[in-house]
Amino acid sequence: MKAMILAAGVGSRLSPITGDTPKPMLPVANKPVMEHTIEMLVRAGITEIKANLHHLPHLVEQHFGNGRRWGANLSYSLESTLLGTAGAVKRVQRFFDDTFVVLVGDSLWDIDVAAVVAYHKACNAAVTVVVKPMPQEMVGRFGVARVDDDGRILQFQEKPRPEEACGNLVSTGFYVLEPSVLDLIPQAEFFDFARDLFPKLLERGLPFYAYCYEGPWSDIGAFSEYYQVHQEILSGSYSRLHLPAREVAPGIRLGHHTRIHPHANIQPPVMIGDYCRIARGAVVGPNTVVGPHSVVDEEARVAHSVVGAHTYIGRLLELERCLAYGRWVVRFDCGTSAYIEDDVLLSHIRGRPGGQIWSRAADLGISTLALIGGLPIFFGLGVVARLTRQPTIERTWRLAPVPGQRLPSGAPRMRPVQLLRFSPHGAVGKLAERLGVSRLPALYNVMRGDISLVGIKPMTEEEAASVSEDWLRHVGQAPAGFTGLWRIQGGDDLPLEETLAVDAYYAASKSLWNDLRILLWAATRRKR
């Protein structure tokens, strides 16, 4: 049996969090929400899964890949323009040859999928919708169904006014369909299940049934719902979910390699991810989830909150009913968000600290060795400078991205660095140019940590001003470097657009191994 996950939503109500995170990747209990969905399907024996993507699709594909890690066979349908819930399924019609399941990728159910399918088959339905009873005042945000005693749907309304609603059973976005139904959906058009397809089913009198589900259900469309689903998970309402933490004490779930100071105060129910550190005097919980690789520093208090991964919560900070995600703090009740620029309050811990230390150590080591190795040249040039009394070293201002820091728009924060080089105005500089070592003094900048050994091209102010924010966002993920892919491809002779393209490629494929290869190429001065 096959399934389709609708993962193309933009999640505008969860802005600014969804600005650089697609909705299916939003963490729920420290796992992307779509991971819970996939695991639920695989547990029911459904392993052939198709997912449609639209917003930031590469992040979803990067994480899930072919789904093998979860025992699934996952494939994707990339929509450049949104086709709606039914239109998306129509697009991959050929994938489905038998009864199949469609569900939204940003919701959680604690449901027995096999039971729903069995019900669908028993009713001989063309379409079955999983519905849940909700209080009358809340039905206006969903699709509402009115059913007869056999569960057959007699009327379906999309987001009605509460007083006009025909019932209190709302659609949870979980459907079982027969492939023949897809013929009712027009090709390549925006078509929605609730608004467009269901009326057609009712018109034609096709068997359209509702499966009544009364367990916990969350559709994380708004911040208040995001908070509520975490509360429900922590209280144990979702019995079938696989949580990435071990219950070490009643209500206290911890990931592995997490260090908690003996004088920290952990109040259940709480869930703390892997590789976290909770410092002395910190209070975590109740009703709190802390993402992996995060730090809660001394005397900070995090209660009724959700903290994302790789987040540093500063000393004495107090988070109550908030979401701390990256550098954003969002109040759950009103949805107000604040961007925190001060690292001492809140910051994003980029990557594993170990990796950055090694990279800096390598930069420092290699640049120091190169400077020492180049001492004879410097000595010789120094003598020439003394004799000719001309300018030797000059400083030029360039802009470099600050690693890990972003402006609210998503573009990297740039800071000015003064790069050293041999002045082309002096005899020394001209000699250095001839020898090809005019930029050697910039190794001093590498030693100081202004730039990296390998990176993107440090930009001038004019260049940085002329680059669009979107480009900067791609390019600025990597630090500026003494050398880099850009240098191998043509260095200063390369036009700006090509430099940006090369740098964006470099930033996206950055790895230690690639950096070493680039260093070797640059050192042996081979041009590609």
């Binding site: 900070l317 107000t336 604040a338 001060d342």
Partner: protein, 127 residues
């Protein structure tokens, strides 16, 4: 940029605009100091047009509070916008300041103090 207003009823109002951060906090702090030196130690900072505060801005506000209180006055805040309010709450400073929703309420708090809540708070921040 900072706009300063003087309220006739004896309460000084200072109204910064835009961001209260490393670049603007210095001027803000100086203006506050001037006000207190001139004897106007009842000050309301109207933050309704401030959309961002960072730790330097917060420090300027705290130093203004200490200056005002040590001159038998007070610095009260009015009109905190959403993001600024969040920053005050996570740094716990919403407990250090008397914060009012609107400027008139803040001014009113100085002028119409009852016996239960005198205009000059008895507590003084530790230096």
């Amino acid at each position: 940029m900072i706009v300063e207003l003087r309220d006739e009823t004896g309460v000084a109002v200072i109204e910064p605009l835009g961001r209260l951060d490393a670049r603007t906090a210095g001027t803000f702090r100086q203006r506050l100091a001037t006000l207190v030196e001139e004897g106007k130690s009842w000050v309301v900072a109207d933050l309704s047009r401030v959309d961002f505060v960072d730790s330097v801005g917060l420090a300027a506000l705290v130093s203004g509070l200490k200056m005002a209180r040590s001159s038998a006055g007070d610095l009260r805040l009015a009109g905190l916008q959403g993001p600024v309010r969040v920053i005050f709450e996570i740094t716990r400073l919403h407990r250090a300041f008397d914060i009012y929703d609107t400027l008139p309420e803040a001014v009113h708090s100085f002028l119409h103090a009852t016996e239960e809540s005198p205009p000059i708070p008895r507590r003084v921040l530790p230096s």
